[in-house]
């Protein structure tokens, strides 16, 4: 155990080499460094601390200890039993840490995550008046929150803790050479301390959200969502462009697979909507303008031509779908005897006799082709209607021409019944699709090649029913612009993540349900609507949305109003006010894309600021840079892979010094150049494996940026073969190991940096 209080005389010495190096660096680096300080100062002007100023050696040396702005760093080095201590010389690392600038306390603990040691950390924070902490132990992915909470409870700002990974990144993977492992651990601690000194205070940021919700679209989804939201006592405005509620379902006869009358569903939902005091129904209403963000939308509408305005905190989009135009397909438009499935629904609903003895249903019209995918509901709807025709007229011949019959669970059992009732099925292939022909008498017939029988059939048809695919509502192009969300070519809105964010948009406050997302059965539509109601209700119930303190901050001094930041932000977290960017901090996810791409370097990310990352680079490359690789690793998948390599105890060369960023999109070009200018042997950028990205497309943006950077570097005469990139899934430990081995070998770095 070492506890060392830095006296004033030591300070310039330990702080000097870094600042001296900074001044003596190559022109580009100085330029970057020079840019860094004002930006950082400007940013922190609003915050309590002024880390850029306090990091300057003079200030560090002369200011009296204990002043709130002075960094007082505590370092806690974990043995993890023998997990770390058997490989890394932990006492030596602790002693080394104690000698680093601004470190006033350093201690080794056997298990620093144990309950008793956590108490010890809190005691150390209080007794030594610590305002920065560095923990050197396992991995931030599992333990960062624990330590943040711990120091937070002791009165330190939790955002001023830095996590250094000396188990997963050192002791578990460099067992072969204890000296090398210890050196790397020291470097990582040095980098951690260098960054910690500059850490600003952070806080959870909140944006108030009231309890008023706009639901766009009055079909089954919109009504279901409105009812669920209103049930909690929240105000709902349900906007429908038509003059009545009900949407597509109004035109439908029955709902598959059990044949429940659609009118019954509509009636029950409308009754509930009307009965609710909290729902205001706005029919014949169109949305003309929409501005704002979660908790603060202003909605302009036109109701039968009369303009109106109201506020909303959240928006649920349930604009539904419509049948594609089938004109020109399978003889549609050539006579009344070729109709669509929706026409058939209307006729059956009206109770009109079909007057057709021979009915041929053709599936997958305008869908499941190069243009678009499966319509999801066509098979069950067609089967249901085929049965209905059979039940109305058992003598009728009903043929169902299909490519694949998609029937799951209950529908699968139902299909068997329908086939028993005498509906005949014919399977065709894309190679030989059916054709509708007309004889001399004008009567239609369908010729089709049955792939199962291997025979060409000609089926007389009094009625041809086309099961046509769907597209999004006609208002979608207009709405997507207003909502600043995206939609696909067919006019279906794009969710934030197809698997885990099906009901959210990337922008907070706007939610999605039902056929506006993609065609689906009524049951699924209702489930999505309930789910979207939940998603919208969460911020309304909490009364706010919040962001972790890791957010973007902007200094407008040098801003050229280029607009790159707000155009690129995937979360709509940057507002344009008078051509200037304004960060909606509560919506910011802290990925750093805007900061890295800002041509004027006006944007900083709390905890991942230019100065902090520059300090890590400088600390890592202070000694023997020619043996070291700087690896920028994203917190999510890439660091996951690094951790898995650790868990697997995979031995690999110890040359890399990892700098964690939330997203690879944070890696600005100047960081890479800084590494080069400081003589790094290599630079590695590691992000999430495509197509996964925690920030939607950060890895793609980073990859594009690296392409641009390489071109730029080649022009300037840099050796771009030392700049590597790797895209890793969180289970790709072996690939990380392979990359490390390959990179050190290609760069001629073996054996790793020995002391």
């Amino acid at each position: 155990m070492t506890e060392e209080r830095m006296d004033a005389a030591d300070a310039p010495e330990s702080a000097m080499p870094e600042s001296a190096a900074s001044e003596a660096a190559a022109p580009e680096a100085t330029e970057a460094g020079a840019e860094v300080s004002p930006a950082s100062t400007a940013h922190s002007a609003g915050a309590a601390a002024n880390p850029a100023a306090s990091a300057a050696p003079a200030a560090g040396a002369s200011a009296p200890a204990g002043a709130s702005d002075d960094p007082r760093v505590g370092v806690f080095v974990c043995d993890c039993g023998t997990n770390i201590a058997a490989t890394v010389d932990c006492p030596s690392v602790t002693e080394y840490a104690a000698g680093l600038g601004d470190v006033v306390f350093a201690e080794e603990g056997k298990w620093i995550c144990s309950v008793d040691y956590l108490t010890r950390i809190q005691q150390a924070v209080k007794e030594n008046d610590l305002n920065r902490a560095v923990v050197a132990c396992c991995t931030p992915r599992t333990h960062e929150k624990l330590f943040k909470n711990t120091v937070g409870a002791a009165g330190m700002n939790p955002y001023q803790l830095e996590f250094v990974s000396i188990r997963e990144q050192v002791s578990w993977v460099h067992k072969a050479d204890k000296a090398v492992a210890t050196d790397k651990a020291k470097d990582l601690v040095k980098m951690g301390v260098a960054k910690a000194r500059l850490l600003e205070e952070g806080e959870e940021i909140r944006l108030p959200v009231k309890t008023d919700c706009l639901v766009i679209g009055g079909g089954a989804a919109g009504m279901t969502a409105a009812i669920a939201v209103a049930d909690q006592g929240y105000v709902v405005r349900l906007v429908e462009k038509q003059d009545v509620l009900g949407g597509l379902l109004k035109d439908v006869n029955t709902v598959a697979p059990k044949g429940v009358p659609a009118a019954e569903v509509v009636e029950r939902l409308v009754a509930q909507v009307v009965a609710s005091e909290n729902i205001e129904v706005l029919t014949s209403t169109e949305i003309t303008a929409l501005a704002g963000y979660i908790g603060n939308y202003t909605v302009d509408v036109s109701r039968v031509g009369v303009p109106g305005t109201f506020d909303a905190s959240t928006i649920i989009v349930t604009t539904g779908m419509r049948e594609l135009d089938a004109t020109g397909h399978y003889g549609h438009g050539t006579g009344d005897d070729v109709i669509t499935q929706l026409d058939l629904e209307r006729r059956l609903k009206a109770g009109e006799p079909l007057g057709a003895k021979n009915v041929v249903i053709v599936q997958c019209v305008r869908s499941r082709n190069e243009e678009r995918g499966c319509c999801h509901i066509g098979c069950t709807v067609a089967l249901k209607n085929a049965l209905e025709i059979k039940q109305r007229d058992p003598e009728a011949n009903v043929y169902l021409l299909y490519k694949d019959l998609i029937t799951v669970k209950d529908e699968y059992a139902h299909m068997k019944e329908i086939l028993k009732a005498g509906v005949k099925t014919v399977r065709f292939s894309d190679a030989r699709p059916p054709e509708v022909t007309r004889g001399a008498d004008g009567r239609a017939a369908v010729t089709v090649h049955d792939v199962l029988l291997g025979a060409e059939l000609t089926l007389p048809a009094d009625l041809v029913v086309l099961t046509v695919g769907f597209e999004g509502d006609e208002t979608v192009p207009h709405l997507r612009g207003l909502l600043k969300v995206s939609a696909n070519e067919d006019g279906f809105f794009t969710e934030s993540h197809v698997k885990l964010g099906p009901l959210d948009f990337a922008a907070a406050g706007v939610y999605l349900a039902g056929s506006a997302r993609s065609p689906k059965p009524l049951r699924d539509v209702r489930e999505e609507a309930l789910g979207a109601a939940m998603r919208a209700s969460i911020p309304m119930t909490k009364g706010h949305v919040q962001a972790e303190g890791i957010v973007a901050t902007v200094d407008l001094t040098d801003c050229s109003q280029c607009g790159l930041c707000w155009k690129n932000c995937p979360f709509g977290a940057i507002e344009e006010i008078d051509k200037n960017p304004h960060i909606l901090e509560a919506l910011c996810k802290g990925c750093g894309l805007c900061a890295a791409d800002c041509p004027k370097e006006c944007i900083q990310i709390v905890h991942y600021g230019d100065a902090q990352i520059a300090a890590q680079i400088e600390a890592a490359l202070e000694d023997k840079p020619e043996e070291k690789i700087i690896a920028f690793v994203c917190h999510w998948c890439a660091l996951g892979a690094v951790d898995i390599a650790g868990v697997g105890r995979s031995e690999y060369p110890a040359n890399a010094r990892i700098i964690r960023v939330m997203c690879s999109a944070r890696v600005a070009q100047k960081y890479v150049l800084d590494c080069y200018d400081r003589g790094a042997a290599g630079v590695l950028v590691a992000g999430c494996e495509f197509p996964t990205c925690h920030y939607i497309t950060g890895n793609y943006k980073c990859s594009d940026r690296l392409v641009r950077l390489r071109k730029k570097m080649e022009k300037k005469g840099y050796d771009t073969s030392r700049l590597w990139e790797v895209w890793l899934s969180a289970s790709m430990g072996p690939k990380w190991v392979a990359t490390m081995k390959e990179m050190t070998e290609v760069l001629g770095l073996v054996p790793a940096c020995k002391s």
């Binding site: 039993g81 298990w111 499966c374 698997k499 789910g531 939940m534 494996e689 899934s729 072996p734």
Partner: protein, 457 residues
Amino acid sequence: MSDSVLIVGGGIAGITAALNVADYGRHVYLVDDTPSIGGTMARLDKTFPTNDCSICIEAPKMYEVNTHPNIEILTNTEIRKVTQTDDGFTIRLLKKAKYVDEEKCTACGKCVEACPVSVPDEIDGKIGGTRKLISVAFPQAVPNKNYLDIRCRNGSMRSEGACIGECVVDCSQCRECPIAHCVKACNNEGKFAVVLWQKDENIDIDVQSVIVATGIKSHEPPEGLYGYDVFPNVITYMHFERLMNAGGPTEGDIIRPSDKQHPHRIAWIQCVDRGDKGLPYCSKVCCMVAAKQTIITKEHDPSAECTVFYNNMTSYGKGFEEFYQKASGLGVRYIIGRPFDVTEDPETHNLTLRYEDIINGTIVEEEFDLVVLSSGLEPNDRNKRVAKTLKIDVDERTGFFTEPDPLFSPLETATPGVFLCGGATSPIDISESVVQATAASMKAVARRVRVAEEVAV
């Protein structure tokens, strides 16, 4: 009156429901009967139709659950007894011993290193995956704690060389163990976390509502079907998924069991064991799983010859048809129909499939290096017991829970206040599970509002 919510099952549906309910501001008990949350999704390699890495997108949610102030995770825990109260339920949970003190264990792995016995893993066993008698469930497990296989503790692994097998004293009688390597290794670390004398624990909780998210699992084909369990190179699609997975037993190396060589000619047979004797329903996801697996196989080795024998291409969801077309475009051969049988060359362990080429009307025999059976999804084994405990209904034919009125009251059960989501309702994909879980969480938190209103009236 408690406004907590109990969620039974910690797969992606349970995790999603838990995060929604907890973010809404309610306390959540997230109960799973295995040692870790994560469910089936944690074991998958990629997810269709985007080929996102499964654990990469699920693990952050798992960590979020783990650190959420409103969520209490109870793993290795079952629901035992449910009593309905005026405004909810009193529920007795049984937390079965892991024989590891979860407060003290840091998953450092010293006990795992010390354990002398490797046993076949439950999921990966058939493709060579092993684990120690004491281990974490998988590398990203939450909680990230070791657990001891109860078979070691009760002596049934004696013949396998389990170190405590020879002990004449019942573990429950000791307070320190002079024999067990895991206990010694842990104590040497100063942790004292392996506790062979740990007891099962009853926990009573009061909740307002219950969300059942017991999930699905890969259906095991009967022995002998298409040579399964007879020929080493006939595996299920879940096995293949684990072979593809960088976190699987082969670290993502697609090799066949008989000779550990890379198979070049691979056949997928869809709808295996579907029918009146097997699974009486379409499992919905297998077509897309096969498309995904062929695409990934082609990514590993573009020259691999992939053939899929299918019946109806179930490409129902957003982007699914495009995904199937992508597989097709990569040269994956799609053949309509199920093969008649599979025979094996005893020398090479290659497999010959006999099938009808319906285009030419001929019978074809073709040799493959590996046959993958898409054997579908089935409900959790424990559904019947859960149904009995919660007084809800299970479909005798399928084993999934049933909803009295799926159209008007989706996800509701015969017991008010008990809701379903995910694989508890039917075979389902991840996206639909997430939707249902979010919807069920709306119902689970909303009920109290209604009850309160009724009281107010």
